[in-house]
Symmetry: D2
Subunit: 138 residues, 4 copies
């Protein structure tokens, strides 16, 4: 059960977070199981070796966690990331990058989330894996 | 002992990483103790509540680790972040954000780094704290 | 495909790691998908509030990662944990604690693993979630 | 400024946490700057290669964070670890292992801590580095 739609969450994040607008963040799906977020491939996001940069990957993961929290709880825009841990696993391909986020544990204080990131068309090979915590306004 | 200067490292990072150019990343100091990196305050980097966004803070921390590794080892541009863990501690002020990075452990395979981030003029209050690992080309 | 059985891995870990013997670590299942490890409930492992202690939970998670690496690669006893990140989610119940571990990414240098921990009979509610890295002997 | 002494904190932790008693955890120093905790070397704590096991190192780090929180806040025994991230840097020597813990940020909800671990007589070479969060009873 979600209280906001994918379109509403995408608009909220893009309005509030200029970096989400910069990377053209999309929320492709939002349902009770979680979120599928996407950053379209841009040449401006690459790093040496021709892949998406680490900061772009982290920005996508953070936005996906924010989206899953907003989708579940509604307009808690003041929720903030308190911890994020990322393991970079393989270089992303020069295509769109996808992020599937879900909530591992929701308490009154915080939401602990997990995000699996992979290149479009290659869901079996993780590009990165993230766990993180959003602190919720009490 | 470093093998590159702050100016050389700043130029290398900005040339290779468009997001570093976007946030106007500066390497203010580079010596045997580590690196002081800085992102000038821009209104385009804010998030709800008027503070620098989490992704900007993570981008700065990652760049500071990259800088300290380049400074110590020279032109190992193919070094890549393998893990990054960040704790967000207080909201940054609307001023430049500074990052002091140092190497905790350098082995043949990897460099484990620590970064303390704080707002300009307020070094006593950490905005965020990062540990991370750069995998080195063998 | 695994190269060692659950029994072999359990014996290797218990022989090499006295703390695994102390907590009576069991490897209940080992297959291509990963490992199911278990620590039987003991009153000596509790902490204030009557639950299994954090160090016991971490020891189980670490052993489960070690088991999944040994199961996949064989007798690489010199593999060592290089990073471990744990989120504690709910207090474990006073029953056996289970840990399901799988490998997220196996490279020549390292294995990045994920572990989901839950109380016996309550697999839907995670007690803790771990990601970690084992450095492999080259 | 601390509200409990090193002796009081050591007694509280050992009384409440059997694993701390097992590893003979000592709180050697507790002051406004933080805590120095120690686990005496025991042969029962070793792992393959003759060094202290990862779980023992994690147990010490966790106890050191707990000690610094108790020292600052008093008898908040119900404080619990919510996150712990550890980087293992070099194998500990077969001597006592020390842990210096300090609070990076104390808020009403939580204490974010940092711990540097090293072998007795070798403070310059870190054995492991930990950051972690204790959730505080509201």
């Amino acid at each position: 059960m979600t209280v906001l739609t994918a379109e509403q969450v995408q608009a909220l994040i893009r309005a509030g977070l200029p970096i989400a607008e910069d990377i053209e963040l999309c929320i492709d799906r939002l349902d009770a199981q979680g979120v599928l977020a996407r950053v379209p491939f841009h040449t401006k996001l690459i790093r040496p070796g021709g892949t998406l940069s680490g900061p772009t990957i982290m920005a996508l993961a953070d936005a996906a966690m924010y989206a899953v929290v907003l989708g579940r709880l509604g307009r808690v825009e003041m929720a903030v990331t308190s911890n994020l841990n990322i393991n970079f696993l393989v270089k992303p391909k020069p295509v769109d990058l996808l992020a599937e986020a879900r909530i591992l544990r929701l308490s009154r204080r915080q939401a602990v989330c997990e995000v699996s990131l992979y290149s479009l068309g290659n869901a079996e090979e993780l590009v990165a894996h993230v766990t993180g915590t959003y602190a919720l306004p009490l």
